[in-house]
Amino acid sequence: MTEPAPGTIPSALPPAEALPEEELAGRFRERIRCFAIRRVRDTALAEDVAQETLRRVMDALRANRVENLAALPGFIFQTAQHICLQHHRSTGREDRALARLGRDPRPSGENDPLLGLISEDRCRAVRAALGRLPPDERELLELLYYRQEETAAVAERLGITPGALRVRKHRALQKLAALLDLRVV
């Protein structure tokens, strides 16, 4: 599937009858996991948050508590936010109890938990696809995503404007998606 051009209006949500549980999960589970892992910093807990969020949203849809389907992404976001907040309150109480006993709270999780969401199989496929990109595009993606340099700094290094860099970035990502046959949605 090709990626929509930068700046295009996102595709509209399908109608309610086209949003059974599987469809809803396929569309939103990864977004919820990505959202959750930044907060709970644990892949298993992030999966639990995703499950619970989808369960509550499906309950709300079945009970006709979601009147405006265009607002469904916002409703899902707020539900996930609420569940993560409950998790924080729970761990906060535990940490405070440990602190009262003169102990440090539990150590924080992985340094970059987002990386835990990508399987090793997918990493291998992406590495192979990156290897088939032209060297300048591969270097650009490496500088932006792996070395995490700012756009302005990368543009200066490559002797182009930040605007031109963004165009090249989107072009490189589109090529990568085509090589991977990546579903964008």
Binding site: P6, F77, I83, D104, C123, V126, E142, L182, V184
Partner: protein
């Protein structure tokens, strides 16, 4: 939620996708961007691709067992006391709010407290696990290698037999992960197994 409204144009102008993945957005910006990508396939696609590139280029991590701090190892009763204090507080809160919070809201629980054995015999998947005191329901989940839940079942039994006709989306997968979660009668999570890999035997 943050009041900042994010558009695709703003994502591009401020490089919100790359800065989000680099952890360089402040909390309000990050949250506003997350609220945006929940409803925007294009920007979610940027995040997803960026994540994949970042993970693919990162050096492989050799995981080692996570050791507990020495202070906790030497005084396990402290952690136990803290847990009991939290539990007591939680029970009190439960009484005060009169059950307004649904029991299923709890998402935490001890891991690896269930022993799970799972295998394919021919095309039939067989699994069994240890019983956990206090648990009345066992929720089994099957994941793809990407962590997507493909199938979920609940039962009071400590075993599961899935012939091909009952495997749903599992039949398309050759490599799977399975986890069992133990729930009590209030549907609180009491324990769970680790995620066990399952390989489907090759067809001859």
């Amino acid at each position: 939620m943050s009041e900042t409204t994010i558009t695709c144009e703003l994502v591009d102008q401020r490089d919100l996708d790359t800065r989000y993945l680099a952890g360089r957005l402040d909390e309000a910006e990050a949250e506003a961007f997350e609220a945006h990508y929940f409803g925007c396939d294009r920007c979610w696609g940027l995040v997803r691709q960026g994540q994949a590139v970042k993970a693919a280029l990162a050096p492989p991590v050799v995981s080692a067992p996570r050791a507990l701090p020495a202070t906790r190892r030497s005084t396990p009763w402290l952690a136990l006391a803290a847990s009991l204090a939290v539990l007591a507080g939680g029970l009190q809160l439960w009484r005060v709010i009169g059950g307004r919070q649904r029991p299923e809201d709890t998402v935490r629980g001890p891991s690896d407290s269930l022993q799970l054995v799972v295998e394919f015999r021919g095309d039939t998947l067989l699994a069994s696990w240890s019983r956990l005191p206090g648990a009345t329901t066992y929720r089994t989940r099957f994941y793809s290698e990407d962590g997507v839940v493909l199938l979920e079942r609940e039962s009071a039994e400590t075993s599961l037999v899935l012939p091909p006709g009952a495997q749903g989306r599992l039949v398309r997968e050759t490599s799977l992960l399975m986890q069992v979660q133990a729930l009590d009668d209030l549907r609180q999570l009491r324990g769970r197994s680790g995620q066990r890999p399952i390989a489907r035997p090759p067809k001859i």
